[in-house]
């Protein structure tokens, strides 16, 4: 196969950060908080780069939608081995209401424009926890989808995908072009080395506006408020197993 892979990457609050809800309940605090590439997107990039290293595809294009800062995320993908980047520029204000529907329209338009054979995304972003974009992109393109992939084998004209499902694993065979979404077990993403980070600075990032792709950003979902979840009451430490069993019996749990 000599096709092109589009990889969607999202900039999110770092997975280790304990988030804070804004006092006005309009969202969570993002200013001055550490951001990094969504962990599932890293896995998607790694898989695309591996395919290129196996000479199964010829080019890996990393795409991210959002304000200026998402260019850092694209740079990270370039340092991991993506060939070039596309920054779909969305103002900070518009970005607040940008959801999977809009992103999937952007990705579908880019896939056509770039004549991509494969789109690889993470299975979900750890901020919105939607788990929708890949499935919606596939639908808009009328391509098959291989979601929650833990093993991907690219063959002529199709992809064999082992998927993580509730009771275990299942294997499907889907035609290309296709959309894949990466689960945690797909691979272990590499660290970008310093020389590769330097090289990535020379790689090109094209700037595109959603309007150039004919994508309308208006959303019919409206976040009314964001709240803290209910806090659990502080528990107690018990001294021994007997004590623990006694307490659980008292509470009627066993």
């Amino acid at each position: 196969m000599s096709g092109r892979v589009l990889v969607g990457v999202k900039r999110v609050i770092d997975y280790a950060v304990k988030i804070r809800v804004k006092p006005d309940h309009s969202g969570v605090v993002t200013e001055g908080v550490k951001h990094s590439m969504n962990p599932f997107c890293e896995i998607a990039v790694e898989e695309a780069v591996k395919m290129k290293e196996k000479k199964l595809i010829k080019e890996v294009v990393a795409v991210s939608c959002g304000p200026q800062q998402v260019q850092e995320t694209i740079r990270t993908a370039l340092a991991m081995g993506a060939d070039r980047g596309i920054h779909v520029e969305v103002s900070a204000k518009e970005y607040e209401s940008l959801g999977p529907l809009q992103v999937s329209k952007i990705l579908a338009a880019l896939a056509k424009k770039e004549e991509a054979q494969l789109i690889i995304l993470g299975k979900q972003a750890i901020d919105g926890d939607c788990n929708q974009t890949g499935q919606m992109t596939a639908a808009l393109l009328d391509w098959p989808q291989g979601t929650f992939a833990s093993e991907v084998t690219l063959e002529a004209g199709h992809v064999k995908v082992v998927r993580e499902i509730d009771g275990g694993l299942e294997t499907i065979k889907i035609n290309t072009p296709a959309v894949l979404t990466a689960d945690l077990r797909l691979n272990t993403p590499r660290y970008a080395t310093l020389p590769n980070i330097m090289k990535a600075k020379k790689k090109k990032i094209a700037n595109v506006k959603p309007a150039d792709l004919g994508v309308e950003l208006a959303s019919k979902l409206q976040v009314l408020r964001v709240d803290e979840p209910p806090q659990r009451e502080a528990g107690v430490k018990v001294e021994s197993v007997d004590d623990l069993v006694g307490k659980l019996k008292e509470a009627g749990r066993i």
């Binding site: 997975y15 280790a16 304990k18 988030i19 006092p23 969570v28 529907l101 299975k123 750890i126 901020d127 926890d129 939607c130 929708q132 890949g134 499935q135 919606m136 596939a138 639908a139 391509w143 098959p144 989808q145 979601t147 064999k160 993580e164 499902i165 509730d166 009771g167 275990g168 694993l169 299942e170 294997t171 499907i172 065979k173 889907i174 035609n175 689960d183 945690l184 019919k220 979902l221 409206q222 976040v223 009314l224 964001v226 709240d227 803290e228 209910p230 806090q231 659990r232 009451e233 528990g235 107690v236 430490k237 018990v238 197993v241 623990l244 069993v245 659980l248 509470a251 749990r253 066993i254």
Partner: protein, 376 residues
């Protein structure tokens, strides 16, 4: 400053009102009013106003109609579908269930008895083998075309998450994932940031497409219903995808997502063999066994046992975390459990911040002791 604890204001929507005020109440009210007030003009005006309200309320109620996409294995309904039916009934209006598969008879019979289901739509076709979304989406779209549902939902399982966003994109609407509460037919609550924030979302789409968190809604009663069933037009196979095989983990233990008691192990178990300690403990309580991502990544147990933001969400009556530190991503999957027990040798482990009962001890000593105590 507002208190940080979160409570949902009980709202009386037009829908609730319409359900509360039955036709008889209305006629009684009108009759009473008529006897009190003899000036015909006033009565006429009031009568008209009440009629108008009734029409509006009735219209609203009739207007809601929900399609629940049933998840099944051609033999049995998946329990999360029953939770999705409960959620669908909270919307008011009619609830229909679509059963698509290669062999639907058993599931249709099961579903016809579920309380709160009005109609079972059946689509049987060999193309539905493996429930591939490429094949199921056209049948859902055809069904939607025919019945014009206001809501389409499914459980937020691997099946629902795979399928519904594809359906939503085809309808050109934004879907809503993994809802934990329905405030009104267009307002839903869901968690974001690994369960560390609750987002209340208003959906102004013409069709609301959403998945339902199974642990947030009681399963609908499996007896007492009397739904009618009807076949829906089967489309021809799309043929861009093919289901090859599945490897399901075999276990005698109850299913993780629906278990009343869950015993989970983490990196502290040190090996796959040591998980036997947890299976022994689980046996005494008829518990399911779960795991943290660390235990899955280390290869101790298969990934379908993972509890957390990206694994399964559980909310059992009792959750026992053994050798699990309590990372944000793990807490996302279990912190709605009624009682949480942590057994960990590190007194500083974050799991102790959410546990009701914490035991600082070596699990290799404490777990066998507990098993012995419970066997007595």
């Amino acid at each position: 400053m507002q208190a940080t604890t979160w409570s949902v204001p009980k709202k009386n929507t037009a829908l609730d009102i319409s359900r509360e005020l039955s036709t008889t109440t209305f006629s009684m009210l009108v009759a009473q009013l008529a006897s009190f007030i003899n000036r015909e003009g006033v009565v006429f005006t009031m009568h008209r106003a009440i009629n108008k309200t009734r029409q509006l309320a009735g219209f609203l109620q009739r207007f809601q109609s929900t399609l629940v996409v049933a998840e099944h294995n051609n033999d049995k309904l998946t329990p999360i579908t029953l939770s999705a039916i409960t959620a669908a009934n909270k919307l008011g209006g009619e609830v229909s269930c679509l059963v698509a598969g290669t062999d639907c008879a058993k599931v249709v019979a099961e579903l016809s008895k579920v309380l709160g289901v009005n109609k079972v739509l059946v689509a049987q076709h060999d193309a539905f083998k493996g429930a591939l979304p490429e094949e199921l989406t056209p049948i859902i779209l055809a069904t939607q075309q025919q019945f014009k549902f206001t809501h389409i939902c499914a459980g937020a399982s691997a099946f629902g998450k795979n399928l519904l966003p594809r359906v939503a994109a085809k309808l050109d609407v934004a879907p809503i994932s993994d809802i934990i509460e329905i405030q009104s037919p267009d307002t839903f609550v869901r968690t974001i940031y690994a369960g560390n924030a609750l987002s209340t979302v208003k959906c102004n789409e013409s069709v609301k497409v959403f998945t339902v968190r199974g642990t947030a809604f009681e399963p609908a009663a499996s007896e007492g219903g009397s739904a009618t069933s009807e076949d829906v037009a089967s489309s021809s196979a799309v043929g861009v995808s093919e289901w090859l095989e599945q490897n399901l983990s075999k276990s005698d233990r109850p299913e993780l997502a629906g278990a009343k008691v869950v015993v989970s192990g983490g990196r502290g178990l040190k090996s796959g063999e040591n998980f036997q300690l947890l299976y022994d403990l689980a046996e005494t309580m008829n518990a399911a066994v779960g795991a943290s991502r660390a235990a899955v990544d280390a290869g101790y147990v298969p990934n379908d046992m993972q509890v957390g933001q990206t694994g399964k969400i559980v909310a059992p009556e009792l959750y026992i975390a053994v050798g699990i530190s309590g990372a944000i991503q793990h807490l996302a999957g279990m912190k709605d459990s009624k009682t949480i027990v942590a057994i960990n040798k590190d007194p500083e482990a974050p799991i102790f911040l959410v546990s009701d009962f914490g035991l600082v001890a070596d699990l290799f000593k404490a777990v066998p002791e507990m098993t012995a105590a419970l066997r007595k």
